[in-house]
């Protein structure tokens, strides 16, 4: 009976895929080719409106494989991270598929199942090699990416389309007002916009937690600096680090940044851009549909632009910004149904599901999905849709930089960001603040056994 069913499913899959091949335009599901009747796959994953849309496709998987999928936790990124940590530490894992993220995966290493045995080369071929690389620790692939994000320069388009402002800028600086491509240009233009009253604030950024650490990190590497050297000794308190920290401090002092920057997280920061109070900012593509929605952001919907991240300060090794990361799925080592879990992950990261999710504005991690999106965008009336995808693709291919893949990333960030805040607020001098953070970081890394 079961054999018959399997044969039938395979035949069905063949027919469907055959039909699809004939049409050559239908994106494909994957992971449906195994009979999983009677198995319940439990999943702990990220929740929230946009993230949850994907889970709507799960009935297709249940129908085809006979498995039952139960979502046991739907939490936001930081909450699910804390849940995973507690569960891993106490052995309370009762799920087969877990949310994961390239910035977090290094913490979970001892508790994750290596995925190499469950995926063929062919199945992995479509995924971005840079992301798979970032997810391979000690030769073990620990996650399968779902979608990616990278920070891009967002700007208020009205400031750059207005001939009067352009004229005033030329008069003031002797330069043309074009969308900035370097940190120095951002500095010059942001100051100009604020000093002449064209924009309330020149630059916007989230000013606490990992959000702040990450923004510093990308300015730092874009200016040729680094958080750590190859021995994981902190190097962010060198001249470049001081240069970046001083820039942020002066921006804050001069009113380029909103006065409550250090209390803002993603939502508060994005709200300022949404309200049209901020001229320039580095921001995730993930906000695109929100900013383009005239109901939530009437001031900037249809009135903002996107560009590749700027090049940092002019030091050796300077490059484009591009703090990046990818949401993903993993299988806990303590999972009950690992093979079934792998099948569900194959399905959730399949071309079809990924393509559907990309419709919401997420950046895909599969080449086949990219190809489809770019083709779709070429038919769109909104020019920014096309620019967005082109820019994003360049960034994902060339500027994709994850934070250091160490389990101590979050503990490091929790040491670092309050010190940077103190520098920004003027409580401490840049060099002294960074030195203090470096000292505490060194102890953290030593405790973790990095210098043995």
């Amino acid at each position: 009976m079961r054999k018959l069913f399997v044969l039938f499913t395979i035949a069905l899959a063949l027919i469907i895929s055959g039909a699809a091949l004939a049409q050559d335009s239908e994106p494909q599901y994957a992971g449906l080719d195994m009979d999983l009747s009677g198995i319940t796959i439990r999943m702990a994953t990220i929740g929230g409106g946009q993230y949850e849309a994907m889970y709507g496709s799960i009935p297709v998987f249940e129908e085809a494989t006979g498995a039952r999928v139960e979502i046991v936790a739907l939490l936001d990124g930081f909450a699910i991270d804390q849940k995973l940590k507690l569960d891993f530490a106490t052995g309370a894992v009762d799920y087969d598929v877990a949310w994961d993220h390239t910035s977090f995966v290094a913490q979970y290493v001892p508790f994750l199942e290596p995925l190499n045995p469950y995926f063929t080369e062919e199945e992995l071929a479509q995924f971005s090699p840079a992301i798979l690389d970032a997810a391979t620790i000690n030769g073990n692939l620990l996650l399968i990416p779902r979608h990616a994000d990278v920070s891009a320069l967002h700007y208020r388009a009205d400031l750059y389309n207005n001939p009067d402002i352009a004229e005033a800028y030329r008069a003031a600086t002797g330069m043309e007002l074009t969308v900035p491509t370097t940190l120095e240009e951002i500095d010059r233009q942001a100051r100009f916009f604020v000093q002449n009253g064209y924009s309330t604030y020149g630059y916007g950024m989230a000013g606490k937690e990992e959000a702040l650490t990450g923004r510093f990190y990308e300015f730092l590497f874009a200016s040729g600096g680094a958080l750590f050297n190859e021995n994981f000794e902190p190097t962010f308190n060198d001249a470049i680090g001081v240069q970046v920290a001083t820039l942020l401090r002066e921006w804050y002092r001069d009113g380029i940044l909103p006065p409550d920057t250090t209390s803002l997280l993603w939502d508060g920061d994005a709200q300022n851009f949404c309200n049209g109070d901020v001229a320039l900012k580095l921001e995730w593509y993930g906000w695109y549909s929100y900013f383009q929605d005239a109901a939530s952001c009437p001031r900037i919907a249809g009135n903002f632009g996107l560009a590749r991240g700027p090049i940092g300060f002019d030091n050796p090794g300077a490059t484009h910004t591009g703090w990046a990361g990818a949401h993903a799925f993993s299988i806990p080592a303590a999972a009950q149904n690992k093979q079934a879990a792998a099948q569900l992950i194959k399905f959730l990261t399949s071309e079809r599901v990924a393509y559907e999710e990309a419709q919401l504005g997420f950046l895909p991690v599969r080449d086949d999905v990219w190809a489809r999106l770019i083709e779709d965008a070429s038919r769109s009336d909104v020019e920014l849709n096309r620019i967005r995808l082109e820019t994003a693709r360049i960034q994902i291919n060339e500027d994709f930089r994850t934070p250091p893949l160490i389990a101590e990333w979050i503990p490091f960030s929790n040491i670092f960001f309050p010190q940077l805040q103190a520098i920004i607020l003027g409580d401490v001098e840049p060099q002294a603040g960074l030195d203090a953070a470096a000292e505490a970081t060194r102890q953290l890394m030593a405790d973790a056994g990095y210098y043995n």
Binding site: I46, G47, G48, G49, Q50, Y51, E52, G56, V72, A73, L74, L75, D76, G77, A79, L86, A89, T90, G91, A92, D94, W266, D267, A270, Q271, N275, D277, W284, G286, W287, Y290, A295, S296, P298
Partner: protein, 289 residues
């Protein structure tokens, strides 16, 4: 104080007192009012700059979405489940902690025994251990005992958390009752138990009510332990449920406020039903006098 002929000056005083009380209470309720208004606003008015003080239209969208009545949005919150879980946990833990705590409070107030002071201090001390320090070891313990994701398990913890407060409060109230009354009851042939049940307990009703209200609301609103000990919708209470509205980058303010409004209804009902006993305590006091 209330009865008797009312002189004009006294009448003015009463009017002033009442007015002042209303002003203070309304001021105190303003932030709450804002939360309620947010639940009924159109989404675009929330966090608008410049602000929109009075909603231009009232919408029930947030509630419709929550109860799965909005065809465009998948239902994300098992409100009914949360309601049942929260009520079960709050009622069980309130009943038990008030019952046990009142007995202990009575014992502390009326009887002398060895280690009286030490026991009393230990109780209080147990309340000083913070949730962070409690939650992980408790989780370890409860996993072994099979009490994780279990309504009784959570109730159990809340009982323990609420007891010290109840004991202290009840001890205070029982001490307030003149011992002559209890003694008179003994002379009339009452047992300890009868004296407690007929004389002391009714007179301490304002204290009992206070303790019950606090225990109920503390259990109703507790977040930290609930978020660790409840692992699925089967046992989750409202406060961890509120977190469904926070997303990676944004917060659904309206949804959160709407859920808080729903959360408030049973709490208000409970308070309205029980707070009468504060008055009754007063009348008992008057009878006694």
């Amino acid at each position: 104080m209330i009865s008797g002929a009312v002189a004009p000056r006294k009448r003015l005083n009463i009017v002033l007192t009442n007015t002042l009380a209303w002003i203070v209470l309304i001021a105190l309720a303003l932030p709450a009012l804002w939360i309620v208004l947010t639940a009924f606003r159109p989404a675009s008015e929330i966090n608008a700059s410049p602000p929109i003080w009075i909603p231009r239209e009232i919408t029930f969208d947030a509630f419709a979405t929550m109860f799965g009545l909005n065809p465009n949005v998948r239902q994300r919150v098992a409100v009914e489940r949360y309601l049942i879980n929260s009520l079960t946990i709050a009622l069980i833990s309130t009943t038990i902690s008030v019952a046990i705590g009142t007995l202990a409070g009575y014992a502390f107030a009326r009887f002398k025994f060895r280690y009286h002071t030490t026991a009393f201090l230990l109780l209080m001390f147990s309340r000083s251990i913070p949730g962070v320090a409690l939650s992980l070891p408790l989780f370890l313990l409860f996993v072994r005992l099979g009490l994780v994701n279990n309504l009784l398990g959570v109730s159990f913890v809340y009982v323990a958390i609420n007891i010290p407060f109840t004991v202290w409060l009840m001890d205070g109230f029982f001490r307030q009752i003149p011992y002559d009354l209890t003694e008179a009851a003994y002379i009339d042939g009452c047992s300890h138990w009868q004296a407690f049940w007929r004389i002391d307990l009714p007179l301490a009703l304002p204290g009992l009510t206070t303790a019950a209200i606090f225990a109920f609301l503390a259990s109703w609103n507790e977040f930290q332990i609930a978020s660790v000990l409840t692992r699925s919708v089967d046992a989750r209470t409202f406060p961890p449920g509120l977190f469904v509205f926070t997303e990676q980058f944004t917060v659904d303010w309206r949804g959160m406020c709407a859920m808080s409004v729903i959360m408030m209804v049973p709490a208000i009902v409970f308070v309205i039903l029980t707070q009468r006993n504060l008055v009754r305590g007063l009348t008992f006091g008057a009878v006694k006098g």
